[in-house]
């Protein structure tokens, strides 16, 4: 489903992604873990081309983009938009559209991008809001919702585009602890439904429970990769062990 080959990205002199290769099967849930600055968010943003890589190729389903490092032949805005419509992304800071209601937020993708008729988009949006447990908040504006509710609306908004892949960028990091659970519940349900997902997260227990595969990154490279339980319980590299040290100590207590 997802194939990443030789991905490289620098911001000025700072090399963020050195040479990334990754393969993700359909229906797999991959957790991207690592310290800050390891490049995991940048990698996630490259998967849906929010960040354009310097070099490498990305394939999501049937959509493929290759970058040869030749800055003069970047794909056009339309091609990029079409690629992105295929993936859904949920952000750490929600990024809901404040001038629209929750329902309008969820309808926005299908209405504007897919040109779905309004009545149909409305129906689908209401169903999605019900799926995340927020059908009675449909007419509320984001400012009136709690963090956990905002994030669930954001998930519904991304799902409205019927993407092949869902990307989650530290979606619970900005939430109060008591609100984290409701969002993780929705993500768990999506995983059980068979959605292909990449999660950048600090929720180790959740990653261990829900993810099939864990990819540990550090300084722009993939250090370790493998089945979730294995990488988290029995890390091979010193850096990985150090990263999971606190988690292990917590689990042992």
């Amino acid at each position: 489903m997802i194939d990443i080959q030789g991905l490289q990205k620098s911001f000025g002199d700072h090399v963020v992604l050195k040479d990334i290769h990754m393969h993700i099967d359909k229906g797999a849930v991959v957790a991207l873990l690592g310290p800050s600055g390891s490049g995991k968010s940048t990698l996630l943003r490259c998967v849906n081309l929010l960040t354009i890589p310097d070099k490498g190729s990305i394939r999501v389903g049937t959509h493929e983009m290759t970058y040869s490092g030749d800055a003069t032949r970047l794909p056009g805005d339309r091609a990029l938009a079409r690629f992105r419509a295929n993936t859904g992304m949920v952000f750490q800071h929600f990024n809901l559209f404040p001038h629209m209601t929750a329902l309008q937020n969820v309808m926005e993708g299908p209405l504007t991008v897919l040109r779905t008729p309004k009545a149909q988009a409305r129906e689908q949006a209401l169903a999605l809001l019900a799926k995340v447990g927020l059908q009675d908040k449909a007419e509320q504006h984001p400012a009136q919702l709690s963090g956990g509710q905002k994030q669930r609306v954001a998930i519904a908004r991304a799902l409205a585009m019927q993407p092949q892949v869902m990307l989650f960028d530290e979606v619970t990091s900005a939430l109060d602890p008591e609100l984290v659970g409701e969002v993780l519940g929705v993500i768990r349900d999506l995983a059980l439904d068979g959605m292909t997902m990449i999660l950048v997260t600090h929720e180790m227990s959740f990653a261990r429970e829900v993810a099939d595969q864990v990819v540990f990154m550090r300084d722009g490279v993939v250090l370790e990769s493998g089945p979730a339980a294995e990488v988290i319980d029995r890390p091979q590299h010193a850096a990985t062990q150090q990263f999971f040290a606190r988690y292990h100590a917590g689990m042992a207590a």
Partner: protein
């Protein structure tokens, strides 16, 4: 002690009324045209292509660095000679004032757009929207709301700037005030009256802007 006599001006009320119409007329024209120019220059200033955004940046910098009066005079006396086209004082005045206002509007508009959290366009692009759709559906609706008080303030300034059109003998409120002052030898009453007329328009306008700003701050 000077003896104020406003009643003496009553016979010239038609002139003052005409002057007011001309002032308001030119103001509206220059505000609308200025906004149109400002919108193009503001959004164009954000374009990636240097061919587009560089000339626009020069235009904005140039017109913001020149006093309005100098621009008005230059457009009337110098420009026709330069491009070999004769133009009426009216045309030169509207051109100068619209382009002047446009430069300031452009900066307000550009600033408003840039002030929108990049996360908004991230989310819009992640849904698959083109840059045009992002602007139209997500960024501009939010930015325009934010820009309204400063745009209105600039429009108030445009109105005040129309007072300089009297220099080109355009029959605005100031010009009429001068005419009446000269004829009646009562400059105090004439000029005080036109000052009061400007205040009568602009004070409510300022109050409206202030109210919009405080409502946004909630």
């Amino acid at each position: 002690m000077y003896e104020w006599n406003f009643a003496y001006l009553w016979q010239y009320r038609q002139l003052f009324a005409n002057g007011l119409m001309v002032t308001v007329g030119y103001s509206l024209l220059c505000i609308v045209l200025g906004l149109a120019v400002g919108l193009l220059a503001g959004i164009g200033g954000l374009a990636k292509s240097r061919l587009i955004h560089l000339p626009l940046k020069w235009y904005v910098e140039l017109f913001r660095a020149t006093p309005v009066l100098v621009l008005i005079i230059w457009f009337y006396y110098a420009l026709p000679v330069l491009i070999g086209v004769t133009m009426t004082a009216s045309v030169a005045a509207v051109l100068a004032l619209s382009l002047y206002g446009g430069a300031f509007y452009a900066e307000i508009i550009r600033g408003g757009i840039v002030s929108i959290d990049p996360g908004q366009s991230d989310a819009a692009r992640a849904l698959g929207m083109t840059r045009f759709q992002v602007m139209r559906r997500v960024v501009l609706p939010q930015a325009l709301r934010r820009m309204t008080p400063p745009l209105m303030n600039q429009s108030i300034m445009q109105l005040k700037n129309t007072s300089l059109l009297s220099v080109l003998a355009l029959p605005d409120l100031v010009y009429q005030g001068q005419a009446v002052a000269h004829e009646t030898y009562r400059p105090l009453e004439a000029y005080t009256l036109i000052a009061l007329m400007y205040i009568a328009i602009l004070l409510p306008a300022s109050k409206l802007v202030r109210r919009l700003e405080s409502r946004r701050a909630e």
